[in-house]
Symmetry: C2
Subunit: 254 residues, 2 copies
Amino acid sequence: MGTHSKVVSIDGIKVACSNCSLASLCLPFGLESEDVDRLERIVKRNRPVQRGQILFSPGDHFRSLYVIKTGAVKTFTQTPSGDEHVVGFHLPGEMLGLDAIQDDRHGCFAKALETTAICEVPFDNLEQLSASIPSLQHQLLRLMSKEVSAEANMISLLNNSTAEERLASFLISLSERFRRRGFSATDFFLAMSRQDIGSYLGLALETVSRLFTRFQDQGILQVERKHVRILDMDRLRGLLRHQTPCHTQADKRS
Amino acid sequence: MGTHSKVVSIDGIKVACSNCSLASLCLPFGLESEDVDRLERIVKRNRPVQRGQILFSPGDHFRSLYVIKTGAVKTFTQTPSGDEHVVGFHLPGEMLGLDAIQDDRHGCFAKALETTAICEVPFDNLEQLSASIPSLQHQLLRLMSKEVSAEANMISLLNNSTAEERLASFLISLSERFRRRGFSATDFFLAMSRQDIGSYLGLALETVSRLFTRFQDQGILQVERKHVRILDMDRLRGLLRHQTPCHTQADKRS
DNA sequence: GCCATATTTTGATCTCGATCAATGCCTAGT
DNA sequence: ACTAGGCATTGATCGAGATCAAAATATGGC
């Protein structure tokens, strides 16, 4: 109440695609504004999920893709013995559930790392709409292709890098992603624990902690708990310069 | 000459999609036969590529997806210093180039490991056709989703597994893929070198060699150069039983 | 504001697999 | 058939990072 639009709520959390600052990273990219309106109509905007809340679990029936609007989510699997393996971290504008199209079931957990607003895109509707809007079909394929590229980069990182290079690469990737979303590239808060970072990078949490300390001692970072400030980006990049695959952009993610 | 069909050559290498034994793993899956014919018309079937030949290189303009019909291909990147990092191995029915849709450029090399027949699918045509054949659009999205899942599994493997588990997992994956393609699941030839396997699994070639020897000593495998025979599949599976993510199929690849 | 619990930091030790090194074994070219 | 060069096996050593252990610091519930 008190607002004229049905998709913009008073607290500003529900924003229409046509007004969304993330549109250029997301499905609306490249669409005519009338087509954005058609897309708009199939998107569901539920209430924000709270920190710790599970969005979906392995085995859940796949109905929708999800796009983070604000906040952060981690995806992870769990071994029978109960320990988590972090698959990825997802920031505003990034899409979740692309791996589930395959067999109609989700393959991992998705859990909010902080209060998170999410756009839900029912997949059946999206497929129908894509068939009649070529640029939407193309953008959906591009986003999936980006996911494939990003994962290939991750595989390469895990195969060929030291602990130092992995953490440097992770921080640079985060920095880039924040920058493109209009946040500071050099001063940000980590939504995830050292444990999570370690699990994601294939390192023990102790190793992650030690590396943060080392980077700080070297004057590359200033770290205070979850708050990271990159003091010397050149030196941070230098930590992985040598062995990056040629012809590959630093960050294939949007 | 000497044949009535324009797509079936005398030596049997050029097979129409409608007759192809790999159709159920590939784009035609789920299509009406009239739609398979339409797909058929956009597919190019070039002469087979010889062992060692490069299909595409990083930076090459992306025009087509490629599907292996017979043979095997490896994809890899190269560091400035010149050493290879294997990204993947591709068997009949598997698709190459999905990572290139994103930015219109290929991101890795593709090289034939043996004489290989390939179907070329011009991407612009495929997109157009997908828009008018819903089941084709769906299958293309499924294949991309499969790629995302397979890569996520690979990441999980590299993050959480010992050398032994990695090689066991690799062999089981190969075995499954051969089985689905109508080949023996227990008796096959490796098209790639120990070096390539090591690079793909993030291991030194010496480690791969030692593991083959160990598996043979334990009576799990019989290995003679490139020829592998799996003698005890249960024990091979047992090597990775414990720590596989729950709710995840062994092999997300087709 | 205080306590219980979770998270992070720091230290000491150990292990798996990399690396270095040498030998043996196929395969292709003349 | 013979030889050269690539590929594979086997052995010896070493080190990055895991693991074990304990203290320090933050966070959330009451």
